[in-house]
Symmetry: C2
Subunit: 196 residues, 2 copies
């Protein structure tokens, strides 16, 4: 499972990793398995670990005072699990993160990441690129949420992350888009009619 992490690092950093550096990486990341529905993080806890998903799928969500779930992130293989704010600031998280399927991760702490960053140039560069892409993806999603219709947001998701539509149930996709499952169902039916 370390091989997919290695590929990810070299792809994001455009730098190669020596065997010695790979040993440091393997020391810093520990394997973790979660059964379907098992929690990786619960609201109110500090997110001590971030995890690179090598198999399975996860979701990150908050629960409002009325008990409604709001999904902010859906993740599959080669994505990261963890509440960024809580992980970086060591503050209690507003979110829950759980496994949607049986999931395998490689987890590490912020301390270990900072240590690695100073010793492995590819890790430092990877974090730089990840932060940059994260900012861009966040701004695109924010822009979509204030300027696009529900149908346009669905089409954008289908265009950018088609894999997510295959892997997650419709109720979760609807929550991620900030719409009701009924609205999502109506949009999908209309799109099928348009395509015919």
């Amino acid at each position: 499972m370390y091989e997919s992490l290695r590929q990810y690092i070299t792809e994001y950093s455009s730098l190669s990793i020596s065997e010695e550096e790979f040993s440091l990486i393997k020391e810093a990341f520990k394997p973790k398995r979660l059964r379907k529905r098992q929690y990786f993080l619960q609201e109110g806890d500090v997110c001590k670990y971030t995890g690179f998903i090598t198999k399975g799928s996860m979701r990150q969500y908050s629960v409002d005072t009325a008990g409604n779930e709001h999904i902010v992130k859906l993740s599959i293989e080669n994505w990261w699990a963890g509440d960024y704010e809580s992980f970086v600031m060591l503050t209690p998280s507003k979110y829950n993160i759980d496994a949607v399927e049986d999931t395998e991760l490689l987890i590490t702490t912020n301390e270990a990441i900072q240590e690695l960053r100073s010793r492995v140039p590819a890790i430092s560069k990877m974090i730089q690129v990840m932060d940059q892409r994260g900012m861009i993806a966040g701004q695109r999603r924010m822009h979509a949420s204030i300027s696009l219709s529900a149908e346009e947001r669905y089409l954008e998701l289908e265009n950018i992350y088609p894999a997510l539509l295959q892997r997650f149930p419709q109720t979760m996709i609807a929550s991620y888009l900030g719409i009701t499952p009924e609205t999502l169902s109506r949009i999908r039916k209309q799109l099928v009619t348009k395509k015919v």
Copy 2:
């Protein structure tokens, strides 16, 4: 005007800047003035410059096919102007950025920033912290947009960035919150009644 940039860098990086480093910074950033309503960036152009605002206020917005404006960012002194995605990826921007008041900035290019980053540790650290805070602010705003009511979003803005409510007209605040000016006006009246 360079003094406020210097303060900003030392505050964000928690590192001091030598006189030699400050000279490099002054070489990399050039003063620019914009009159009220003048553009800093127009849709379709590549965002070649990012600007540190030393005086004035700006907005970043897109215009949809129906001609409606959607404000994604409102900025005042000690904030940065520029479309992050276009600036980093050198792609045509989806946004317009213009001055809401007469504005003064210190502008620089991505190339100059990358050069500075490698020579001035405080700049490298500042960018790291800015990216981190930017990610966190983006996630908070995204979460607010899918899980909070319009009234709650207004209160969050009032709580986190009270200065923005003083500096920008209600129509721009409404657009930033993704609501109509009428809804914003109703929310403000209700809040006044509650507070009395």
